[in-house]
Amino acid sequence: MTSLPVERLARPQSLHATDRSDRIYRRVLTGFALGLPLLILIILGVLFTGALPALKRFGPTFLWTSTWDPVAEIYGAAPMIFGTLASSVLALLIAVPLALSVAIFLTEFSPGWLRQPVAFLVELLAAIPSVVYGTWGIFVLIPFLRAHVVPPLKAVLGWTPFLQGVFYGNSLLAGGVILAIMIVPYIAAVSREVLLAVPASQREAALAMGATRWEAVRSAVLPYGRAGLIGAVILGLGRALGETMAVTMLIGNRHDIGVSLLQPAYTMAAAIANEFSEATTNLYQSALFEVGLILFVLTVAVNAIARVLIWRVARGQAVGSRAL
């Protein structure tokens, strides 16, 4: 080790310097990050200013008026609000058992080799574009419902108000079912991450007390993750409320309030999609802006609740954000 090179290069020995670059870097990044809060304010601002004429003209009656008459210039969003909520609730009723089953299966029951493929396939479900769902719904789902689902349903439950009238195809039922298929992957992905965040000790404690595997899931795992699971479901609700294309293509687009699943309905998103570029008068357009405002505020509120619930389980982690 005697031949080690020892010469030193001349170089400044000063310790004194100011580092402005770090501050600039931080400011630039902060600027970009502030874009997000700014964005939400811009969206709100745009919708609110656009909706002002309608807000002034109709006031709160907009929410419960059922008339939507561009000729008489009377607008009320009640049918769309009803249709949005009804189709979303129907979608949740179908999707929640499916999605929770997927999540429970993947975290608790699946053999190791099946886990990846099933998770991948369910993830693919989220990758299918909405308009493709709509196409599939028109040409496959509706004929299927007409031939194999509606007749037996009518036979058993035809006396209830939910199944009155003739099934022409485009309907609350078709819209709700397609929405259900579409939100399954979101609910499943977030639920799965919530269940994965449940400590193994919870499960083991139940098993050690002699619980069967299902009992361990029901009595230990699900209660532990309850807030997060509810969050996942609400997140799915948020998706369903704002989903546009597939619903527009399947729900029938009729300004009408009816409890029968077989009748056409309308949603807020579908109304904007269908009518926005045709809205010729200022008031018509403004009414659609107001519909957009209601939809935006509703989905933001629903998503915010969902996030709070999910964050409570998986503190600060971006649970599910990759899937979304």
Partner: protein
């Protein structure tokens, strides 16, 4: 085994069976959709489908070349706008996001992730279509970029946080300034993950239709001018699927298959990039 224990085991078995059956129903739905797409779409796909523009309604033949090119342009432009903003916001969250502002930004990003895309279409319409008095591809790209940003911010943050803290310390101890540590060491190490996030974001917006309805609008002719209306695959599918002609329905299925294929290729590339990167590092 006593009756009670037996009953508990039977109940456990039964519930397990229910869970398994419901899970496979969900998977079945996917397989059905993909199967239908291939069955009904593949037969209509030929060379002309990719190289020709649509012919007038009622005639047969024609293709979706304009829509494929249009999708590429609209999505590419959206990525050009959205990726820098989203990634920078994500870097902020990972580097400086532990405080109150970080919490707010993170929360808003998550909330915006679930915003209806149609609402974003209205915003782009207000800022671009209305002042310029004309629908344009650019307006569509802006709408799609807005949809990308919150998603990219969160995935970028997540990927950057995966980089071990020790690397950051090593760079700082060498006399790297914080910004150089952040960009040249940390972000560079997480690059594979960031690229994956960007590709996933692109895959998602590539299939978006609603925000394009009154921004890019659609165009039956071949057009590459971003200040003019432009066709996209998704808009084309919407028009064809809801139209009255059998020929259109045939083209709708074929276009849907192409769009789905495009989205799948991007998604799978994204996974492949991740595997490459982390397969090598860890």
């Amino acid at each position: 085994m006593s009756g009670r224990v037996l009953r508990r085991h039977l109940a456990s078995r039964a519930m397990t069976a229910v869970v398994v059956v419901l899970s496979f129903t969900a998977v079945l739905a996917l397989l059905l959709i993909l199967g239908n797409l291939v069955l009904k779409g593949a037969s209509s796909i030929d060379w002309a489908f990719f190289t020709k523009s649509p012919v007038p309604a009622g005639q047969s033949g024609g293709g979706v070349a304009n829509a494929i090119v249009g999708t590429g342009i609209i999505v590419g432009l959206a990525a050009l706008i959205g990726v820098p903003i989203g990634v920078a916001a994500g870097l902020y969250l990972a580097e400086y996001g532990s405080g109150r502002l970080g919490f707010v930004v993170r929360f808003i990003a998550d909330v915006l992730n679930g915003t209806p895309s149609i609402v974003v279409g209205i915003v782009a319409w207000t800022f671009i279509v209305r002042p310029t008095h004309g629908y344009s591809a650019l307006a569509g790209s802006v709408a799609l970029a807005i949809l990308m940003i919150p998603m990219l911010a969160r995935t970028t943050e997540e990927m950057v946080r995966l980089v071990p803290h020790s690397l950051r310390e090593a760079a700082l101890a060498l006399g790297y300034a914080r910004w150089r540590t952040s960009l040249e060491i940390v972000a560079r190490t997480a690059l594979g993950g960031i690229v994956t996030g960007c590709l996933a974001g692109i895959a998602r917006i590539a299939g978006e239709t609603a925000p394009l309805l009154f921004t890019a609008l659609g165009n039956l002719n071949f057009s590459v001018a971003i200040t003019q209306p432009m066709q996209s695959l998704s808009l084309q599918i919407y028009v064809y699927a809801t139209g009255p002609f059998d020929e259109w329905h045939r083209l709708a299925w074929a276009s849907a298959l192409v769009l789905m294929g495009l989205v799948l290729i991007i998604s799978i590339t994204a996974r492949w990039v991740t595997r490459q990167r982390y397969g090598r590092i860890r």
